[in-house]
Symmetry: C2
Subunit: 391 residues, 2 copies
């Protein structure tokens, strides 16, 4: 159905990265573009304080024919007033100029500090130089783009899948303010598959619902979350179901990378709630376990503290369908509630808790619905990153 | 209206503390009792996994004539099955026996580890010895009781107020799993005021709504939260309004102590949301700021990162009444949004952030309602306490 390919763009895509002076060292501006018209779908943060990049991109995305994505790292350009709006529009205009396409076909993503104007002087200088180089500037690979998008990420995030002759390449960045309904996350997928706008939209919504929307690092919702997929059709038609599976699988891959690289994370935490009355209940209960600071610190300390898992389930005080005597809790494959683990399984349990990926599995005994959510442990590293990250 | 008195029990109350073997050193069992019939009101956790102590106490509290409160520290006696229920009932029975009152007049509070049976052998030995000493065993002062109630608290919490000839004495313990609708909190108030059951109930509900229910340390809801007030009338009647004010003031005092001693806390964080459409909105927005890990870490780092405050307000994605252009944010007295602080106020701002109590004040520009909530910063100490606190 789908496998990994090499780390290059799908047919008809090209990319550029450059240094716009947003950080001291390294590329901080990137552009990925299709050389032909394309079909697109995008989703954005629901934050009431969505930034100008999101507001502008929402308008452009509505046309369903985005061809290019540009990302400005380190600065969210949020709560920057009228000037912020003008600056976002200017960046988009310059990217459109570089590519010779209408601004309405460009999506812009920004993450980073809130409330500080973009350094337009250095950004203009950078774009002037890039424009002079012309098409020759478009030599960046997916890994270069993923790296140029990073803020407090410790590693770049990319993923590749193939469907028939078509390829899907994803790039993403995390890593704090991750929750709910996406995250401080930018994730873009580029594909040369020929997919109808309706099929692309349906496939992407399904994928995002089961992956990025099941990710939570710290319950904080970003003002900048953006995910988008662009399909340019260069590789011809594909089987719609296989494409949908590959897209979901790629998004899951990126989601796991984002969760495992949450700020200060030392391990991936995966919580599955099964036998729920409906998927909404499963996801809500799973997230209350995933987001509990006491569960997260227990996982960090490799402590199979199932009492905290019960506590986090019990927090859903308005959901009286949940009955303690129907609930079961497992760490990995070991049931810890209600059956107390045998003496000989305690060492297995300790081993499960020390893994890089910890699974907590809860069943509610109410129905057949299930949901899995992704996050990470809570460590002193999170405090370090966020108490020192300054405005 | 009310002032501080000396740290002794109100007329007609006496207390006992002893070592029941729940921790290695120090008293871990306490009893506070009125020597005459009393009127009472109590409130409990809404957790779906409320422990046997809460379940039993809820029944007893319904009679509105509690005369005694016993607390077992270090062990929540939660998720301990039928045996847990029997053990809670036995402790209550033994306390009632010591006092020569019906078990239905005793409230029991337990906090600590979940899922581990009470060490009934050592507890029985302890109660046998106490019973032998009889009334002579009741020599404990409020501070002794507050100390015997502690788990990860770093200091005992007591408060005193007077109304006319009557006194109110409160004892409380925190300090993790604090949220919402109370906390892993036990807080008891004893008074010799003569108050009708209806007035006592009304005054206490009002007080709890504005104090303990506005407290949040980590969004985790305990299975054991209990607050209660017992009034034995020994000091005669009091002005109802003054009593109500004194009770609320005492509860606020305890709430601030609990917030300031949150696990790993280095400072008290107080968030006020004003000019809200209604009190429910004010409290919900205030809590989303108070509970944001990114706001809490910024406060820990003494960083006036108002972008994170905006982000946390913007998380209330379903509340479309909130409009970014109507919102203002202050740290202490300094407005940081939308008016950018002047250069000369930046040092004042830094000083505000370094205080032991940090105030964040938000206005929504929608109405006249206001709410203040209490919590603390998020430090590496929280991680240390909770990653090491073992099952």
């Amino acid at each position: 159905m789908s496998g990994s390919g090499a780390l290059a763009w799908p047919t008809g895509f090209k990319a550029y990265t450059g240094h716009g002076g947003l950080r001291d060292h390294g590329d901080d501006i990137s552009v990925v573009a299709s050389d032909r018209p394309a079909t697109s779908t995008a989703m954005f943060t629901r934050s009431l304080f969505a930034g100008p990049a999101v507001v502008l991109s929402r308008t452009h995305a509505a046309g369903r024919c985005l061809r290019a994505v540009t990302t400005v790292a380190q600065n969210a350009n949020v709560a920057t007033g009228r000037r912020g709006e003008e600056n976002a529009a200017e960046v988009v205009g310059r990217v459109a100029g570089m590519l010779g396409i209408p601004p309405e076909e460009v999506l812009i993503g920004s993450t980073g500090v809130i409330g500080r104007p973009l350094p337009m002087d250095t950004i203009r200088t950078h774009f002037d130089a890039a424009a002079e180089r012309g098409p020759a500037a478009f030599t960046a690979e997916p890994l270069d783009v993923a790296r140029a998008m990073m803020t407090t990420d410790t590693r770049p995030k990319t993923a590749v899948r193939t469907v028939g002759r078509a390829r899907l390449v994803g790039v993403a960045k995390g890593v704090g303010m991750l929750e709910p309904d996406m995250a401080t996350m930018l994730a873009y997928v580029f594909t040369d598959a020929d997919v109808s706008p309706a099929d692309l939209d349906r496939a992407f919504r399904h994928a995002v619902d089961h992956t990025f929307n099941c990710l939570s690092v710290d319950t904080d919702t970003s003002t900048s979350d953006t995910v988008a997929v662009i399909a340019n059709g260069a590789a011809g038609p594909v089987d719609t179901d296989l494409f949908s599976e590959a897209l979901a699988d790629l998004c899951l891959d990126l989601t796991r990378q984002l969760a495992g690289d949450g700020e200060g994370a030392t391990k991936l935490l995966r919580v599955t709630v099964g036998r729920a009355a409906d998927r909404e209940q499963a996801r809500r209960v799973a997230k209350s376990v995933l987001n509990s600071p006491l569960v997260k610190t227990a996982v960090h300390g490799a402590d199979p503290n199932w009492g905290r898992v019960l506590m986090a389930i019990g927090k859903n005080t308005d959901d009286t369908r949940i009955a303690p005597d129907k609930v079961t809790v497992r760490f990995g494959d070991t049931e810890v509630y209600p059956g107390e683990p045998e003496e000989h399984t305690l060492s297995e349990l300790a081993e499960v808790m020390r893994r890089d990926e910890v699974d907590i599995v809860v069943t509610l005994g109410l129905g057949e619905a299930e949901a899995t959510v992704y996050g990470c442990d809570l460590s002193a590293g999170y405090i370090r990153v966020n108490a020192d990250y300054t405005t």
